[in-house]
Symmetry: C2
Subunit: 611 residues, 2 copies
């Protein structure tokens, strides 16, 4: 086991090696933006999938919806650029809300963010596998297995600790950006020459009755909400300001601008091409792969493009493997999550958080059969909720800070907060029945769980706190009464009696027999070796050990009136694991039960067999 | 859990209630013969299934094969009647071989018998389900599930202890015997009137070339070997002599006679009807159900007949639930199997043996998809091997006993032994590739396992034996050095130090820190409460607890030169199970590891949280 662990995750690392690499802008863009940029691989498709409810004739509406999302992106970018300057120490919505709003609000943000991180892994990996199966349809029947294997691969890589190698991550991100830009340029040129042969505004007339009934408008809102999945991850740069080279705020703000421009360009370009080429979403080919196929034909470029898309999506999933464990460790340090999530593993990463994230993502992938569009409705709610809370916290912080309080900054962030708040509500309403309800239920449940965990730790602290005053009146020292459960006279028992004599003068051996006649035999043997040690033999008519033993201990407790009792359990330790099957494990059950129920010391005296 | 157990298997029973009911002949016949008698439900079909390899034209050969098996039955019955008189204390092949042949031979017999018992359950239950699905074909797709459920039902009933209610078992056995006799009489009458319309000797000409090549003869031998499954369980009465009312030997011998006559009549009758009616085995209707359908038509009698057949087969499986745990408990008492198989559960039955049998039978049923004819090739080998060894042991016993040594008895049993030995060889050869090889491999593997287990127990006994001479030179009593691992100063630690003081004067608290700066803080607090107790702080750069702790203990061991060491582990016990998730379980790992590796006492000091 230990050597398998070493092979997979490498040798342990010293705490002192914990340091932060400072990134130049071009690297930081790659590290922090893969999540946001990669979402163009599925966002357009999610819009079209919703619009299909009204028929392909309304596909033209994908363009105004994309423009609306670009407007939203602009507002959020402006807001977060202000936040980068106002809060250069970084920290996500949880920390901001904790420090500037209320605990409950911060926990809501924390819950939303955690759900988000898990969904980022599930959605990105599912979408990455879809990129693969679009190129190689024969892999379709293995998509869940491939997705799970990819999550496990990311888990192992992250347990090794891969944050150091940021350079490695830069290439796929830029490869993806360049490929998509080439796709848009070449595709645009083709569209210009071939003419617009996709869906257009004229066809829309046939679907006008939908809009009259209001149903159409509702579907448009839902398509907008689905398209908002393009916005996931745009806040990552603002959380990572300390990782930038100085002047870090300025550099981060510039990078944020680049990122938004790239994201907006790619998203709009892909949406236009989809509409222009008349691409219809199908079960086995993604929209972006259909565009790729249209532009590159069946050439090697098409396959290359699919592989690059898959790579960037896996990389996007990987960002959660940094974010989620970091967040849970902060929340765990605030004692709202189990302490084990706050401890660094031997490779200096938060191993338990990484494993928890992987398990949750794998469950989601399996439950939703690796279908990106089944997961999307759960996605945007958490993202926009944490955007809103994060910006709200910043508004409160800046408001309270006399020096920074600038009307322009406040106004920008407030607008961002209001708009993202509205989008949150739209998302909840438009996608409630599609799965958003699951998130709406989960967030309060998680918050209740956080509070319950905190309450346990608080009570624990109170109960264990050593009071100096109390300490003064400590009891006098009384030697314990030692009880040795035995089943015969052996070297093991001899060793135990020897030890018992070293710690006390009051020793009783106790043996439970199933046949009354066994007592005489045992007693005779005992007298020969230990005439000075009391032997208590109990006949158990029902052949149980636990209950007569417990009765006896209860009786001793009454008799000794609170003096300490120690059960000394002789236990031989076998040499080979399968030998364990050859022995009754009564001692283990007895120990487990007594520790749970009784305030007495249980000492185990091991005797290691040599063969 | 405990209450579920009580609901399923009832309240515990006292050891004193263990007694043996003495049975009248008619009850004993039912109790001991259900296994043997029920085999007529599948034996004829197994013959026909093998003959089908040569085509239905050779089905007529089922008659001479049945006659050969009747001859075999006669020889075995005569032999076992002698054994009943010569060895009235009963006991199967294992005990006879152990007492009168060699240990290895007895273990071979034991292994063969155990395999047999498991196969009896698997074959009888599968065949019982086939009786059910022949009447209700819609249940065919559930046959594995139904078979597993029946095994579980038998398991629960036997864990409750059902041996007392022998009367209940008598009815289905007699119902089955009467039904089959009615079937034979009515069927015979029909055959007489309708004329022989099945396969006959004249048709055989077409298959003569098979026999010229020797292949045909080989298939006939294989058909014979398959038909020998009719003989399983005929020895049961000879093992159960002590359960008969006095004069038990005479009564048992009479019962054995009846049983053989009934078995022979039923088997021959069914085989004749199958041949006469021209029944061909199919996948979904058993041969006996086809005869039943032919004789009773679609009337209620047909369905009744199927239900009775199923009942007797389930009852036959039930005999293994008495035999297998009994045998494994005897072998376990000889220390060739884990001790836990020798212990009676709280309902006085050998619960572990019952559970083991059920698990093994369920595995067989699942692996062989509940197909009787896939299991049959594994069956007869073990049966006839144990017949042979049992009779061999009896020959040796009687030979050595001057009083009993009668030439007639010896000759009868010797003939039985030789014939069953021959049949064993025929079975092995004729069915080797069909699955008999599995049994041939398993028996020596089981025997090796038996010896390995015995070797472990023997070595254990030697290592633990308390030598009186050795005992005289016992060491002088030295108080242990107590080490208390702590992570802070708390009530839990206070309680542990208090206890440590009561058993020793040499106490060290040890704390492992992950950051060097933690030491000062801890030390300051410690000095305030325990200026007189040594505190050792170890900095662990790799954030592990186990290895620095172990290094420290190794160092102490060297320093103290063999003086006893006690690790006192403070451990708080949470109130609700889920609280366990909120705490690192380092203490448990530490304790587990130290006990495995070190010769030191590990004492746990529990501190029960109140909330």
């Amino acid at each position: 086991m230990a050597s398998l662990k070493r092979l997979l995750i490498g040798s342990p690392m010293e705490t002192k090696r914990l340091k932060h690499e400072k990134l130049p802008k071009w690297k930081a863009l790659a590290v922090f933006s893969s999540d946001a940029l990669s979402s163009v691989a599925y966002a357009t498709e999610e819009i079209l999938l919703v619009l299909m409810l009204l028929g392909t004739s309304v596909f033209f509406y994908s363009l105004p919806i994309a423009l609306a999302i670009l407007g939203l992106l602009l507002i959020v970018t402006l807001s977060y650029r202000q936040i980068i300057y106002a809060f250069p120490s970084g920290g996500g919505a949880y920390v901001v809300a904790r420090d500037h709003l209320s605990t409950t609000t911060s926990l809501v943000a924390g819950a939303a963010l955690m759900i988000d991180y898990v969904l980022t892994v599930a959605v990105s990996i599912s979408s990455g596998v879809a990129a693969l199966t679009s190129a190689f349809p024969s892999l379709l029947s293995w998509k869940v297995e491939i997705a799970v294997a990819l999550v496990l691969l990311l888990m192992i890589l992250n347990l090794r600790g891969i944050t150091e190698s940021a350079t490695v991550f830069a290439y796929p991100t830029y490869l993806f950006v360049i490929s998509v830009l080439v796709l848009i340029v070449v595709g645009g040129w083709q569209l210009w020459h071939e003419g617009w042969h996709g869906f257009n505004y004229q066809e829309h007339a046939s679907s006008e009755h939908f809009f009259a009934s209001g149903y159409g408008t509702f579907i448009l809102l839902r398509a907008f909400a689905s398209g908002c999945s393009a916005m996931t991850g745009v806040e990552a740069i603002s959380n990572g300001v300390p990782s930038f080279r100085p002047d870090s705020s300025k550099n981060a703000a510039i990078t944020m601008g680049w990122m938004s421009v790239l994201l907006g360009t790619m998203f709009l370009g892909i949406t236009i091409l989809a509409a222009g080429f008349g691409v219809t979403p199908t079960d086995h080919k993604t929209v972006i792969s259909q565009i790729g196929h249209h532009v590159f034909g069946n050439s090697v470029f098409f396959y290359l493009f699919q592989m690059i898309t898959m790579l960037i999506l896996v990389l996007a999933a990987n960002t959660s493997f940094a974010g989620f464990p970091q967040l849970t460790s902060i929340v765990a340090n605030d004692r709202f999550l189990p302490r084990s999530l706050a401890a660094r593993g031997d490779r200096l990463v938060f191993s338990n958080g990484i494993i928890l994230l992987s398990v949750l993502a794998i469950i989601l992938i399996i439950v939703f059969r690796g279908e990106t569009h089944s997961l999307i409705p759960l996605y945007a709610v958490g993202v926009f909720l944490s955007f809103t809370i994060g910006q709200w916290g910043m508004v409160r912080k800046i408001w309270g800070d006399q020096e920074q309080r600038s009307a322009a900054t406040l106004a920008t962030i407030t607008i961002g907060m209001i708009v993202t708040g509205l989008v949150t509500m739209i998302t909840v309403i438009a996608k409630f029945t599609q799965g958003a309800w699951l998130v709406i239920i989960s967030i309060p449940l998680l918050v209740i769980m956080f509070y319950k965990i905190r309450a346990h730790y608080d009570k624990l602290g109170e109960q264990l706190k050593l009071d100096e005053q109390e300490w003064e009146h400590r009891e006098k020292i009384v030697k314990p009464k030692v009880i040795i459960p035995i089943s015969g006279v052996s070297k093991l028992v001899a060793q135990s009696v020897q030890y018992a004599r070293s710690i006390s003068d009051d020793i009783t051996a106790i043996s439970i027999v199933f046949h009354e006649e066994e007592e005489q035999k045992l007693r005779a043997k005992w007298e020969k070796f230990y005439p000075d040690v009391e032997l208590k033999v109990i006949y158990s008519p029902y052949r149980t050990i636990l209950s007569p033993m417990l009765d006896y201990i209860n009786q001793i407790e009454r008799e000794t009136e609170g003096a300490p009792i120690t059960i000394l359990m002789p236990q031989f330790i076998v040499k080979k694991w399968w030998h364990t099957l050859l022995h009754n494990q009564t001692a283990i059950f007895l120990r487990f039960f007594l520790i749970l129920k009784k305030d007495i010391v249980i000492a185990t005296m091991p005797y290691h067999l040599k063969e």
